[in-house]
């Protein structure tokens, strides 16, 4: 197995108006980072593509619903937990996904349907939602930031069997205005996506 550390950036140029961060809620047994949040200082346009697997996890259903009802407008955050996929968890799982969205909205002082939610990890187990909502409350506020370390931490918070955090950023210019683009991803196994 190769050393992948060369793919982890040591700096970046990140877009204005976003704060990010991660913390360990205790959902992962190793006490590793397992909750990440990205928050925009102003409501943003949003879009998403989702798995076409017939068994769609609760956060997929919740995020699709939020994008559909808002038209992708006035979205202020993305919240992601790792360690538990909240998939095949029935009505209770869907309620947990909306609880994550509502908690982020409340802590950020925005609407109750102003965030997108994602989960990754083991299928078929309910979230430890109390740990996650406590984590959201703790994370929103001074723990979010816009430094390279914050972005790297946010990327680490969504890892499962990944061996390195996947974070990229770039600047580009249009009509004399400089814009930035930053992104992160996770995934190492169960990877053959066909999203729509």
């Amino acid at each position: 197995i190769l050393d992948k550390s060369r793919f982890v950036p040591s700096s970046g140029s990140y877009p204005q108006g976003y704060k990010v961060g991660a913390l360990a809620t205790g959902v992962k047994k190793s006490n590793a980072l397992d909750l990440s949040i990205l928050a925009s200082s102003v409501p943003a346009s949003a879009a998403a593509v989702f798995t076409t697997n017939k068994f769609q996890a609760a956060p997929v259903l919740a995020s699709k619903d939020i994008l559909s009802t808002t038209g992708g407008q006035n979205i202020s955050a993305i919240v992601i937990n790792s360690g538990c996929a909240n998939a095949v968890t029935g009505e209770g799982g869907l309620k947990d996904a909306y609880t994550m969205v509502e908690t982020v909205g409340r802590e950020l002082g925005v609407g109750s349907r102003s965030a997108l939610v994602m989960s990754t990890g083991v299928i078929g187990q309910r979230l430890q939602i109390d740990k996650i909502t406590r984590g959201i409350t703790e994370l929103v506020g001074p723990q979010l930031g816009s430094s390279h370390e914050h972005w790297l931490s946010c990327a680490r918070g969504i890892m499962t069997t990944d061996t390195f955090p996947k974070l990229v950023s770039k600047r580009f210019e249009l009509d004399g205005v400089t814009y930035s683009l930053a992104g992160l991803a996770k995934g190492a196994g169960m990877i053959c996506p066909n999203m729509a």
Partner: protein
């Protein structure tokens, strides 16, 4: 599971952002495979908050194509990192399928090769096994011209190693093949010779013993 998001401070209207994301995903995250399995949770999201200022980018704005190109290139970069971290992967493989009747046909062939366990284990074993590539091409279910199909490995430097030209096997320089397959990054070109002129790029990795160990140990 694949999860990710990208965010920008450019002002992009939601319908335009959705269209850009779909375009970018179809050429990046939907063109990767580590192990053939599709998750229940795969999601890629995008936010555009407009804090940097400038004109609102809509689907008809003159800069729509430029920003879509930026986002697509960016998405490819992220998607490729996921493949590089494939469980147990020791190789990063770029498949270029050329001269298909349509983009969809080219992608179907790439998908078939990328998901062939025998191709993936051959790459792990550093074996220039074009027969496995050809086999996966042939059962992909799309139009190919067997008498015009060519397969080659493209090294980082130096000439291509041609394995099959117009359906006829070449004499393979095993030493050169070993040299190419010893590299971490491998590029495979498959020309279907249909005259359609449509190409597709797809990224995958090899399959190693470690993949089995990781997933044999993973517990629900």
């Amino acid at each position: 599971t694949l999860l990710g998001f990208f965010v920008t401070d450019a002002p992009i209207a939601a319908p335009a952002l959705q269209k850009m994301l779909k375009h970018a995903t179809d050429r990046s995250f939907n063109c990767i495979s580590v192990d053939t399995d599709m998750s229940t949770n795969d999601t890629i999201a995008a936010l555009a908050n407009g804090v940097a200022g400038g004109e609102l980018i809509t689907e008809t704005h003159r800069n729509y194509d430029a920003i879509q190109a930026e986002i697509t290139a960016f998405a490819k970069q992220l998607a490729q990192l996921v493949v590089r971290d494939g469980e147990g992967a020791t190789k990063f493989i770029t498949l270029k399928i050329q001269d298909a009747l349509s983009y969809e046909d080219a992608k179907t062939v790439a998908h078939s090769i990328a998901n062939s366990s025998l191709f993936k284990t051959a790459m792990y074993g550093k074996d220039a096994n074009w027969g496995r590539i050809l086999c996966a091409t042939g059962y992909a279910g799309v139009e190919v011209n067997p008498a015009k199909t060519s397969v080659s490995f493209i090294p980082a430097s130096g000439p291509a190693l041609q394995l099959l030209v117009n359906g006829e096997p070449e004499t393979v320089d095993e030493a050169r093949a070993s040299e190419i397959l010893d590299q971490e990054d491998i590029e495979v070109h498959v020309n279907l010779g249909t005259g359609g002129g449509h190409d597709c790029e797809f990224w995958t990795c090899d399959m190693s013993h470690e993949y089995v160990t990781i997933n044999g140990d993973y517990r629900t």
